[in-house]
């Protein structure tokens, strides 16, 4: 390694240090300002890293390897590859948006709130950067812990119950994964370190990929890993934590959860599950796809019946994630590329939706569709943004989600005609529940609750405009994003062959 | 001498200790029985160490140290510490409750 600081280090340490500093800023204003400032710096680093995407030319900028627990064959190995670039960029982009859009909210104990938020960011970055199973697991849990505190301290009325459910669900999944990691570790080949030390086994991704595992072992290991990822995504029938948690968590945390954290599950599939257990991934692809598609329809039907706006968005998110998961397992370039695009687009869109929902809830105190009506009269700008984002969410052409969903469906169709047909019904259902929500909440005559609603503030207009810019930018010119991840997509497909 | 005799003695002492702990209600007697068990184990350790730890050739070498006998000292030290702490607790209990009957001492449960 050279003497300069690499991108993975910056992306990981900056939020960590910023988070720790935030704990000492007791004033509401200074904690907020610090959080926004540091999140912008991290975004700057992340944007800069996009310009050093050439893995051959700039290899030394994108890799870092410290010795950590050498004796058990572990090292602190971080790599910024093209999958990581996509998701670290999403993470870095989301946090300033989240901080600015919720700027008006005053939290009690702001220092710990913003500190924990930044620690979450550090944890997420670590997950997306780790190339060592132990480090990956470490950050996987590290990202969870601040969220647990954030939900249980700043959440809604039923926060304890919801948070407990969330924690137990994800923790149960994580432990299964840990068993899997240890088992695979015990079957990895020897690893020689630079200084001559030879560890019997190793946690490095490369060693995991060369572990000697029989088909039978892969079979049950697959389900151990998949359990952790499926809970995180979540996939039917592991999803019931999500609507409750989204409903009860403070909205900025919900944004993190739905925008980025659910991508951890998909990322786990991309980075670990398929490369480490390629045979089993092929073998069980159909089961996973069918589960995902059941989830799409199931969640969509429930979304139609939801009165709680937050739960509606939660179920819509379950349906979307289900589609991405199915596409990842469909094993062709179109579907996988579509899933990559959609991971990014979904993150942007859903954060946009939450911003609007949060504003409604903060101003009216209502979070049920039946309580609200006629918001469009008093808050036309807000309504326009919501309609645009909601339509992007249901994949209208020229918005970002269309490109992703189009590719995913085309790929699913290639894998099996009926996958695309049945999953396609989800497109119609998505239109039904989204339009129903828009109609009830935004159209019609305004009522007592919505009469005095105020339109979006300048900061909110700004972030919503940024989101809309991304929606149309990617929707019209998706190629740069495709080029960014092309390498990862082809790498993933090459493993399976 | 045969190891079996040592084993029999140690087993007898240990059993007396266990039975004592189980049936007696006086804290001091229970305490003594625990000491009895510890010493039964000590006896067994010393006996095994003497007769089965190493071959004669090894024992003859200059650097040979019997590990098990060191353990015995550990146990004795721990037992001594335990006595001092344990007796102190019993004394304090007696001062507070005027009883050393362990069946009455269940207030930590809740």
């Amino acid at each position: 390694m050279g003497n300069y600081i690499t991108f993975p280090e910056l992306l990981l340490w900056l939020p960590l240090v910023a988070g720790i500093i935030a704990f000492f800023l007791k004033k509401q204003g200074s904690a907020k300002a610090w959080a926004i400032l540091s999140s912008f710096i991290i975004l700057g680093v992340s944007v800069a890293s996009l310009f050093f995407a050439d893995d051959v030319k700039y290899a030394s900028f994108n890799k870092v390897n410290y010795y950590w627990l050498k004796y058990i064959g572990n090292s602190f190995y971080l790599v910024l590859d093209s999958t990581g670039r996509l998701l670290t960029f999403l993470t870095a982009l989301s946090f300033p948006i989240i901080f600015i859009s919720t700027q008006q909210n005053n939290y009690k104990n702001p220092h710990s709130f913003y500190g924990l938020m930044l620690l979450t960011q550090a944890g997420l970055m670590g997950v997306f950067l780790a190339w060592d199973a132990l480090v990956f697991y470490f950050f996987w849990e590290l990202a969870l812990i601040p969220v647990y505190f954030l939900c249980s301290m700043w959440g809604g009325e039923k926060r304890i119950q919801a948070t407990f459910k969330f924690f137990v669900y994800t923790f149960a999944g994580s432990l299964l994964m840990l068993i899997g990691i240890i088992y695979v570790y015990l079957h990895t080949p020897e690893r020689a370190f630079d200084d001559g030390h030879i560890a019997q086994h190793s946690f490095a991704l490369q060693s995991f990929m060369h572990a000697t595992l029989s088909t039978g072992q892969q079979t049950w290991l697959f389900w151990l890993f998949f359990a952790a990822f499926a809970v995180k995504m979540p996939i039917f029938p592991f999803h019931t934590w999500q609507p409750d948690t989204y409903d009860q968590a403070p909205t900025s945390v919900t944004m993190v959860l739905s925008g980025i954290m659910v991508k951890m599950g998909l990322f786990g599939v991309i980075r670990w599950l398929i490369p480490v257990l390629p045979d089993a991934s092929l073998q069980f692809a159909n089961i996973v796809i069918i589960l995902s598609i059941i989830g799409i329809l199931y969640a969509s039907f429930i979304a139609i019946k939801q009165d709680n706006i937050k739960k509606l968005i939660a179920y819509s998110s379950i349906a979307h994630i289900g589609l991405m998961c199915a596409a990842l397992f469909a094993n062709n370039e179109m579907s996988v590329q579509g899933a990559f695009l959609q991971m990014f687009s979904h993150g942007i869109n859903i954060i946009g939706l939450w911003i609007v929902v949060d504003m409604l809830e903060k101003q009216t105190g209502a979070k049920h569709i039946s309580q609200l009506s006629g918001v469009a009269h008093k808050a036309p700008v807000l309504t326009i943004f919501l309609v645009v984002i909601a339509l992007a969410n249901i994949a209208l052409p020229l918005t970002n989600a269309f490109v992703g969903e189009f590719l995913m469906f085309a790929g699913l169709y290639k894998a099996n005609v009926w996958y695309a047909v049945v999953a396609g019904i989800g497109i119609i259902l998505a239109a039904v529940y989204t339009l129903r929500m828009i109609q009830r909440v935004f159209y019609g005559e305004s009522n007592a609750l919505t009469q005095n609603i105020e339109d979006a503030s300048l900061g909110q207009k700004f972030v919503l405009a940024v989101i809309v810019a991304f929606i149309f930018g990617i929707g019209i010119m998706p190629q740069p994003l495709i080029d960014l991840t092309k390498e990862a997509v082809n790498g993933l497909l090459a493993i399976k062959k | 001498m045969d190891i079996k005799a040592y084993m029999a003695l140690s087993l007898t002492l240990f059993t007396i200790g266990i039975i004592g702990v189980l049936v007696r209600r006086n804290a001091i007697i229970v305490f003594m029985c625990i000491e009895l068990m510890l010493n039964a184990v000590n006896l067994l350790l010393v006996a095994f160490s003497k007769m089965h730890a190493a071959s004669d050739a090894v024992k003859a070498s200059a650097t040979y140290v019997s590990d098990a006998q060191i353990f015995v000292f550990f146990i004795m030290v721990v037992a001594a510490a335990e006595v001092s702490v344990g007796l102190a607790i019993i004394v304090m209990l007696y001062r507070n409750t005027h009883s050393v009957d362990i069946n009455f001492l269940n207030r930590l449960k809740n």
Partner: protein, 627 residues
């Protein structure tokens, strides 16, 4: 002239710019300015479209590829436009009629507050933009962008007055029904991608590509595309949104029914005629569906009392005729009818708008009557529209409808018979509408009678222009039997391989004479029944069934909407809450219960602990010894 191809992008972009200006500046712009901007961009597009038309006429079709929309290692999708005879004609229809509707709207919508006025024009411009994209698209995906875009715009415009829940419900219905069709369209696109790896029209319709598709592929793809067309062009079973779409402002109805949206399905099938000609099964399906729709909608129109609803069902019925033409391989006739229908349907919708305007928002024809005296221009132009749609010789509708009927006759005389019957119904209900509305005596309130007036010039001039076009528009397609050359067919020949049967001239004369005589008879019947219409009681018997639109909406409600809704409730209340969550919470409860039981072991008795410990040790010994 030849440089026009470099400016093609301006045709859709100009309305988009209009949309952005009006949308962003809706609070600042005055009504006059936003109306002028909205109309001017369309006029500019129209002028460019005319230039493009002549370019195509002289130099033939050309393609423009702007950038790669999606590029994967084995798949490439360009953002490309295809400008040929077919799309250039549609460009003219869309921008030309669109422009007239914009001009008309500046007056019709004048009552709206200025920010809604600007919003209206923004939506209208966006609508034109989407439709232009649809028509210009050089592959199915770009076409689909416009395809969904018009669905979105119709949603926005139908729900324009969003305070009323029934209007927004109509908007939702339109969007969702369109989405059902869109799914069919998308699946067809995926099928094509999976089979031939491209959706580019030029590559796709080349004979060597078509060879890659088996007969089953072609049938499947075309059927799915047709499902898409039924959604957009309001055919059975997805037609019910169109009559409900009357909730929007009247000029919007004119736009949807005449120039844009509903013609999309026709355009798409005409565009892919090479594919459809290979699929006899699909063609039969299209014929049957088209004919059934034509008949069903016509029968419903007879008993409707809302002026716009009558026109809406007449559109559905006329679209049925167009699909009949497509199904019989008579693609040129379908395009021809789109063209003439655009003239007279826009005319009648704008005319009805003029009537509604004069009546102060009243749409029920039972409360009108005798309006001819008060608004001569509207009345006369409306009459011209009725004559055109009925197919009176000399008017534009005659030529196009006659061509469709002749094509049907060439297929089978039974088809011809049913189609002719639907055409007679058309003449009947249109003249019923005319007589009830414009003739007889006025039946509205005194206040309304006082208020009656002819509409301002911004509304009547478009009416007059459209009336002229409705009369002379047929000239471009005069059949050879009547000494014409059918210039439209010749112009479209490079794009469309028409497979219509050719009849000899004598048969054609006979058919024309027959249909003309019967149409005149049916107009006479309408005249005798409705010349002095008096509002009567509620319809009974069969009339009631027709008035209630064969109860199709109710049928959909009970057969589809309610079961699905119940399924959602079932999932939510039973499976989600009791099933999955019940299981999860059950595990939690079990653990809770178990630990409460285990807690009892902690008695606090030191002796009991020791006993347990000893038992445990003994067990370990036993296991060690014997197992």
């Amino acid at each position: 002239m030849s440089n026009i191809s470099a400016l093609i992008w301006l045709i859709p972009i100009l309305p988009l710019i209009g949309f952005l200006i009006n949308g962003m500046g809706r609070k600042q712009l005055s009504k006059g300015i936003s109306g002028i901007i909205g109309s001017a961009v369309i006029l500019a597009s129209f002028i460019l479209s005319v230039l493009v038309f002549f370019q195509v006429k002289e130099a033939g079709a050309f393609n423009v590829n702007y950038f790669d929309f999606i590029r994967l290692s084995d798949f490439k999708l360009g953002f490309e436009f295809k400008i040929d005879q077919l799309s250039s004609i549609f460009l003219l229809i869309i921008t030309g009629i669109g422009f007239l509707i914009h001009v008309y709207s500046t007056s019709y919508m004048h009552e709206e507050p200025s920010k809604d006025f600007a919003k209206y024009f923004a939506y209208l411009n966006l609508f034109i933009f989407s439709m232009l994209l649809l028509v210009l698209g050089g592959n199915f995906v770009i076409m689909f962008i416009g395809w969904e875009g018009v669905g979105l715009c119709s949603y926005l415009l139908i729900g324009f007055w969003f305070k009323k829940p029934e209007y927004t419900s109509a908007a939702n219905k339109a969007f969702i029904m369109n989405r059902i069709g869109d799914l069919g369209f998308l699946l067809a696109v995926f099928w094509l991608i999976a089979k031939v790896g491209t959706t580019n029209f030029d590559v796709l319709f080349a004979p060597e590509t078509l060879k890659l598709l088996t007969a089953n592929d072609v049938t499947g793809i075309t059927l799915l595309l047709f499902v898409g067309a039924t959604g957009k062009s309001a055919q059975i079973p997805l037609y019910t949104w169109l009559p409900d779409a009357m909730a929007g402002p009247t000029p919007v109805s004119a736009l949807i029914h005449a120039a844009t949206m509903v013609t999309a399905g026709i355009y798409m099938i005409a565009r892919s005629n090479a594919l459809f000609s290979l699929a006899p099964i699909t063609q039969t399906v299209i014929t049957v569906v088209g004919l059934a729709t034509a008949l069903l909608a016509a029968s419903i129109a007879i008993k409707q009392n809302d002026i716009k609803k009558v026109l809406a069902y007449s559109t559905v019925s006329q679209l049925g005729f167009m699909f009949l033409a497509l199904g019989t391989g008579n693609y040129t006739a379908a395009v021809f009818h789109v063209l003439t229908h655009a003239f007279f349907k826009a005319l009648m919708f704008l005319g009805s708008g003029s009537v509604i305007h004069a009546m102060g928002g009243e749409q029920d024809i039972r409360k009108m009557g005798g309006l001819h005296k008060h608004m001569k221009i509207t009345s006369i132009t409306f009459l011209i529209g009725c004559l055109a749609i009925s197919g009176i010789p000399g008017f534009s509708g005659f030529f196009s409808k006659d061509e469709i009927l002749a094509g049907a006759y060439g297929y089978s005389s039974m088809l011809y018979g049913i189609a002719l019957f639907a055409a007679l119904l058309t003449a009947f209900y249109m003249f019923r509408l005319y007589f009830i509305t414009f003739r007889g005596s006025f039946r509205g309130t005194h206040e309304q009678a006082h208020h009656l007036h002819e509409s301002p010039a911004a509304m009547t001039i478009p009416l007059i222009i459209l009336a002229i076009l409705s009369v002379v528009g047929g000239a471009i397609g005069v059949p050879e039997a009547l000494g014409g050359k059918h210039e439209l067919a010749q112009f479209l020949a490079p794009v469309i391989k028409s497979a219509a049967h050719h009849l000899d001239h004598t048969t054609e004369y006979m058919l024309m004479a027959l249909s003309t005589a019967l149409v005149l008879a049916s107009i006479f019947a309408a005249w005798s029944l409705y010349k002095n219409y008096k509002a009567s009681g509620e319809a009974t018997g069969f009339g009631k069934v027709l008035q209630n639109k064969w109860y199709v909406d109710e049928l959909y409600q009970t057969a589809i909407v309610q079961p699905l809704s119940a399924l959602g409730t079932f999932f939510n209340n039973i499976i989600e809450k009791k099933g999955i969550d019940g299981f999860v919470n059950g595990v939690g409860k079990a653990v809770n219960y178990g630990s409460r039981q285990l807690r009892l072991l902690q008695s606090g008795q030191v002796g009991a602990y020791v006993l347990l410990m000893v038992i445990g040790m003994l067990l370990l010994f036993i296991i060690q010894l014997f197992v």
